[in-house]
């Protein structure tokens, strides 16, 4: 097991270095040099320009610059945002919980709806229910989620007035951040209606972000379930006279879940990409929204480090998922 963990971790290091190479290159490939960028539209005196280039080390060989960059990154020095003048890492850590909360809620929604839907479709194979579940999930899979969000806002917020349009909680509520998760913090605050407000803000973004994982999970559950239902041991279980419910939920589901769990793990990285669009649509104050804003503000330090941090988070999540598989399924440990 230790060997397995070490191999997996050693695979992560080149990926991380690759990402740093990308973010390093990114800032240098943008037209104009970094000093001109910082100077903005006003321009800069050529002598001062040369001086600053030297001061920040931009006149040194690229390899040296990269080594310096890696050194800074490893020490957690990720630069100062041009727009908030705060360390980028602090801005990031403030916004990150909002994205995590949304992603977790979306994943939960996708699993809670997708798993039973896929199972039902498998059991009712070839019937109307199967066709409608599969049709719906292919539609969900094809959905431009930014537009899906707008549709839901149009229906539930504008026409019916059931849910708020944007943000995480009504501005009338004010309490300290404890965990960064609005649902938990609003409960802890003990203020009347705070939790309901946070929940109503979370519902639509959750549905939007969860739609694609939901479709993928439903499709995967169905096909995996169909395969398992053909196995001999299922016939045996039925022949023993077990109730169909028990056969389905206890005997079949367990084995059908293995590929589904793999797919769920793979979706976590995809969620981060979807979060950018969902947060943008719902003005959700998370990392994705902040990244898009940074582009618009040409806040390159924030963008550069933001991309690095998000990518690192995704790599770490994927690593954790990988290690968990090894724990759940011993067969994986011994491959390679």
């Amino acid at each position: 097991m230790l060997r397995f963990i070490l191999t997996r971790i050693s695979l992560v290091i080149p990926a991380f270095l690759g990402v740093t190479l990308l973010t390093f290159a990114m800032i240098r490939l943008i037209p104009g040099d970094p000093i001109e960028m910082l100077a903005g539209e006003h321009g800069i005196d050529p002598a001062r320009h040369a001086e600053l280039l030297h001061q920040y080390g931009f006149d040194r060989p690229l390899l040296v610059q990269y080594a310096i960059y890696i050194g800074q990154v490893l020490r957690g020095n990720l630069g100062i945002s041009l727009s908030t003048h705060a360390p980028v890492i602090r801005d990031f850590l403030q916004l990150f919980p909002a994205t995590v909360e949304l992603s977790l809620a979306a994943m939960l929604f996708a699993i809670v709806v997708g798993l039973p839907a896929g199972m039902l479709a498998a059991v009712r194979r070839g019937r109307i229910l199967d066709h409608s579940v599969m049709g719906l999930s292919l539609t969900g899979y094809s959905m431009p989620i930014f537009w899906w969000g707008l549709l839901l806002i149009l229906l539930f917020s504008v026409n019916l007035g059931w849910t708020p349009v944007s943000g995480r909680i009504d501005i009338a509520y004010d309490f300290d951040t404890v965990t960064g998760f609005m649902l938990i913090d609003s409960l802890l605050s003990g203020q009347d209606g705070a939790f309901t407000s946070a929940l109503s803000h979370l519902i639509l973004p959750t549905i939007v972000l969860g739609t694609i994982p939901l479709a993928v999970i439903a499709r995967m559950t169905r096909s995996s379930m169909l395969e398992v239902l053909n196995e001999d041991y299922i016939r045996t279980a039925r022949a023993k006279g077990l109730s169909p419910v028990r056969v389905l939920w206890v005997h079949a589901l367990r084995n059908a879940l293995i590929p589904v769990i793999t797919v769920i793990g793979l979706q976590i990285g995809t969620l981060m990409g979807g979060a950018i669009l969902t947060e943008y649509t719902f003005s959700w104050p998370g990392v994705g929204h902040w990244l898009v804003d940074s582009i618009a503000r040409r806040d390159y330090p924030a963008l550069q480090s933001g991309v690095l941090l998000v990518a690192t988070a995704v790599i770490l999540v994927n690593l954790t998922v990988d290690l968990l598989y090894g724990l759940i399924n011993p067969r994986i440990r011994h491959v390679r």
Binding site: A15, L22, P144, F146
Partner: protein
């Protein structure tokens, strides 16, 4: 020779591969429906100049946000508005229907260009990785792993930031982002073929490396690539629209479906058609490509079904 024996001989001949795929494909009603939709969209795109009633970028200031033709419009607001705008007009007074039709042309073009780039690069890199084991393979596959480690939209955003927001750059970004899928598929297919007897036979009879790669092995690796390319159309259209929506893709007044959406966000509450219709166009087109891709996968290789 009697007619009977002739027909017997015909039956004994194996079906042409394309015909065989078609026989399987047409049994899938969803895939057929997808194909019909794609054909209609292609036709609209090709004939956009002829079928669209107005220019997609001409502005009619008297008709800003005119509702679709079946909806009653307030005569006071549109006293000067004389045109027939079947699906209404956008905030700048441009005809929605014409913009949607020209948008189809753009979206299909995006799909073709993105898929061509990533298919060509994917085939090349995949063949290299499959034929030259060792450092070349490791370098290519590691680079692909890094691309896969990043969420695709984030990577596309990074690339567009570097290159600057425009439709061409958005297409480049999407092509790079989807590249790893093609490279991995191609390499896996090559590895499956390269040690088979027919390849060895070709090698022994003196075929050069390029001939081995492109004439001997490549045709036998096409099935998964065709499926991936079809599905690639849908993700290319979707991703390019997402970039357009974020303001990083096509710039106004280009009639691109994604940027049409972002341009009319603030009018959403007053005019449902400005946000509903472009999104519906994206959904229908993407869904059609996905349906067809699924159908092709089942028809080309039942084993590929997951």
């Amino acid at each position: 020779m009697t007619a009977e024996s002739a027909s017997l001989r015909d039956q004994a001949q194996p079906l042409h591969p394309v015909r065989e795929v078609w026989i399987y494909f047409r049994q899938n009603r969803g895939a057929l429906a997808g194909m019909v939709v794609i054909l209609v969209v292609c036709l609209l795109a090709l004939l956009a100049n002829l079928v669209s009633p107005y220019s997609p970028i001409a502005q009619y200031p008297d008709c800003q946000l005119a509702p679709p033709i079946w909806q009653d419009r307030d005569p006071a607001d549109f006293a000067q508005c004389v045109g027939h705008y079947y699906l209404g007009t956008d905030p700048a007074g441009r005809d929605m229907l014409s913009r949607l039709i020209f948008g189809a042309r753009l979206s299909l073009l995006i799909g073709v260009i993105v898929v061509t780039i990533s298919l060509a690069a994917g085939i090349g890199l995949g063949l290299l990785a499959g034929f030259f084991r060792g450092p070349v393979e490791i370098a290519i596959m590691r680079a692909m792993d890094i691309l896969l480690a990043l969420p695709s939209l984030l990577l596309a955003i990074v690339i567009v930031t570097i290159l600057g927001p425009s439709l061409i750059n958005a297409m480049m970004a999407v092509a790079i982002v989807t590249l790893p899928n093609y490279v991995r598929l191609m390499r896996a297919a090559v590895l499956g073929e390269v040690n088979k007897d027919y390849v060895t036979a070709s090698r022994v009879s003196g075929a050069g490396l390029l001939r081995l790669m492109f004439v001997t092995v490549l045709p036998n690796c096409m099935a998964p690539l065709i499926v991936q390319a079809t599905l690639g159309f849908s993700s290319a259209i979707l991703d390019a629209a997402a970039l357009g929506f974020l303001g990083l893709g096509a710039q106004p007044p280009t009639p691109e479906w994604g940027s049409m959406l972002s341009g009319s966000l603030s009018y959403m509450e007053r005019a449902w058609w400005v946000v509903t219709l472009p999104g519906l166009a994206i959904l229908i087109t993407v869904l059609a490509f996905n349906l067809m891709g699924d159908g092709l996968r089942d028809a080309l290789d039942p084993k590929l079904k997951n």
